[in-house]
């Protein structure tokens, strides 16, 4: 299999009823096993981009989208679909089974997987997301974070090469959010899965290998999180939040205390402030 999980070349897209293009000349390449975050405010084209990449929207432009070297189009849809699993924003909209394990089994039943293998895969997926004790519970009785773990298990059971998270954490509380992202990170390295996460939350990009920012349908910035997180002014102009520690840095600057322009955790910033303070 190719080393390129996703390759997009010169992709533009316009919805039929719109006069303007939703996406403009996007170029993007993601290597197998990497984590790409697509960061942008609402209504900037990121969901359209993902739908095109997964073949859920027909690519009517001259540009090309390839998943593992295979062009995404109607003829190839069946095999493209095999590569990709998606977890969506609202945990309540993705359940079909009466119990957690039925729900995870649903996708496997659709693919006519043999019963013994199905049981094995459901078990192992639920173990992977640390939800095995909840196998017989009703999905509705779970918390938002637990529901998203089950949704992730349903995807994992199908053994995808690429997992797409479409604002999958945006409904969760801060703890649920962190723990889901940590879990995705673990699964990514364990199974060499490529992760494509779309988000409008700057705090979520820290774990990724590569970040792109889309605004007004165009790719505006691309790089590693450490590079993106220090672009205060640009982030603001794209309607994104400047990270908290960067806001603190600005405030310190006004007080005459200059910290280097790196992105740092709260603890690291505390150390720097302390160093300055104790030498005063």
């Amino acid at each position: 299999m190719s080393n390129k999980a996703l390759e997009i070349k010169n992709l533009s897209f316009k919805y039929r009823h719109n006069s303007k293009e939703t996406l403009k000349k996007i170029n993007l390449s993601v290597e197998k096993g990497k984590w790409l975050s697509i960061l942008s405010r609402n209504g900037s084209g990121k969901t359209t981009l993902i739908k095109l990449a997964a073949g859920l929207l027909e690519n009517s432009s001259k540009g090309s989208i390839k998943i593992f070297d295979q062009e995404v189009n109607q003829e190839n849809f069946a095999s493209i679909k095999e590569h990709i699993g998606m977890v969506f924003q609202n945990p309540d909209n993705q359940f079909v089974g009466p119990t957690v394990q039925d729900d995870v089994a649903f996708g496997l039943e659709n693919k006519s997987i043999e019963r013994n293998e199905m049981i094995e895969r459901v078990d192992s997926a639920l173990k992977d997301v640390e939800m095995i004790e909840f196998a017989n519970r009703e999905p509705n009785s779970l918390s938002g974070g637990q529901k998203q773990r089950v949704a992730l298990a349903s995807v994992l059971a199908l053994q995808p090469d690429i997992i797409i998270l479409d604002e999958a954490t945006s409904m969760l509380d801060p703890k649920g959010r962190k723990s889901l992202l940590k879990l995705v990170q673990k699964l990514r390295s364990q199974y060499k899965i490529t992760v494509i996460a779309i988000t409008h939350d700057i705090q979520e990009i820290e774990q990724s290998d590569q970040v792109i920012i889309i605004d007004g349908g165009k790719k505006k910035l691309e790089g590693k999180p450490a590079k993106i997180l220090i672009e205060d002014e640009k982030l603001e102009s794209f309607g994104l939040e400047v990270p908290f520690t960067k806001r603190v840095r600005k405030r310190l600057f006004e007080l005459g205390i200059i910290l280097p322009n790196d992105y740092e955790s709260k603890e690291m910033v505390a150390n720097k402030i302390w160093k300055y303070y104790s030498k005063m």
Binding site: G144, K175, V248, R251, N271, Y277
Partner: protein, 292 residues
């Protein structure tokens, strides 16, 4: 309207194998025109508690007083209709409840349902839409064509159209982006300040709680652990860490500094405004001691 809970218990599916006590001996008072946040982990009883505010749930024992109305387990449905007009509820993901063909029809539905004439309801729809920061152009659009933030506003306009005295909001900013969140929170604060609407906010965003609420009710396992100002709640580390309540980022950073030996006696900063003062103060104090 003042809200008073006296010894409220609530039991789901009583006398069955699934019996579950969701609220235990809840006592609290929420003043008219105040902004109160209800916080607590999933399953702590937040949703059960707010469902008592418009009579969706009635206490299994004890009583809830809202204005002049006392709600006990024996109250009749017919006595609750006036309350339902006075207490507006915006549940999670309210955009899923938008159903009409146009924004206007959706907002009018509440007032018409409560007996307002069609003509008057039309006028109210316009006013409500203006309150949430959308112009008349939206009236004839389909709710389904709107962006997430716009849909959330239309849903809020629908609740405001019945002119509630009390507005209960369950995670009103969940799923919105940074700008959308800020806009909705500012709007809610404005309703409190300008229309004197009593605001009750259920939220997981401790930054929002610290920035906008005047009072916090902290729930755990169906009990009220503490009711106090955000400042008192978030600087009480014993309670927040014991209950696994996340504190605002500013509080976390200030705590790191105190642990390292920064000298500060006041209460911990809970939002960026108070954090800026905190920074200024610690450096000023340090300079003073240096001069001495």
């Amino acid at each position: 309207m003042e809200i008073l809970f006296k010894n409220v218990d609530y039991i789901y599916q009583p006398n069955s194998p699934f019996q579950f006590k969701a609220l235990t001996d809840v006592n609290l008072k929420i003043e008219s025109g105040s902004f109160t946040a209800i916080i607590g982990k999933t399953g702590s009883g937040k949703s059960t508690l707010i469902r008592h505010l418009n009579g969706l749930l009635k206490p299994s024992s004890g009583e809830v007083k809202i204005g002049n109305l006392t709600i006990t387990s024996s109250i009749k449905e017919s006595q609750l209709s006036d309350l339902r007009r006075k207490v507006g509820m915006l549940f999670q993901f309210p955009e899923q409840q938008l159903f009409a063909d146009t924004v206007e029809h959706d907002i009018e539905f509440g007032p018409i349902n409560f007996g307002t004439t069609k003509e008057k309801a039309k006028k109210i729809a316009r006013e409500s839409l203006k309150k949430v920061g959308l112009n008349d152009e939206f009236l004839n659009r389909s709710p389904l064509e709107l962006s997430g933030g716009q849909m959330r506003r239309v849903a809020l306009a629908g609740v405001l159209a019945v002119k509630p005295d009390i507005l209960v909001l369950d995670e009103p900013t969940a799923g919105l982006d940074f700008i959308g969140k800020k806009e909705i929170m500012k709007l809610i604060k404005k309703l409190q300040l300008e229309e004197h609407t009593t605001i009750i906010l259920v939220s997981n965003s401790m930054e929002d709680v610290a920035d906008y609420a005047e009072e916090v009710i902290l729930l755990s396992k169906g009990k009220v652990i503490k009711q106090a100002s955000p400042n008192k709640i978030f600087s009480n580390k014993e309670i927040t860490s014991a209950l696994g309540i996340e504190t605002p980022q500013t509080t976390v950073l200030a705590e790191f500094l105190l642990e390292r030996g920064v000298d500060f006696k006041g209460s911990l900063p809970i939002n960026e405004k108070s954090f800026n003062n905190f920074l200024k103060k610690i450096f000023e104090e340090k300079k003073k001691t240096r001069i001495l």
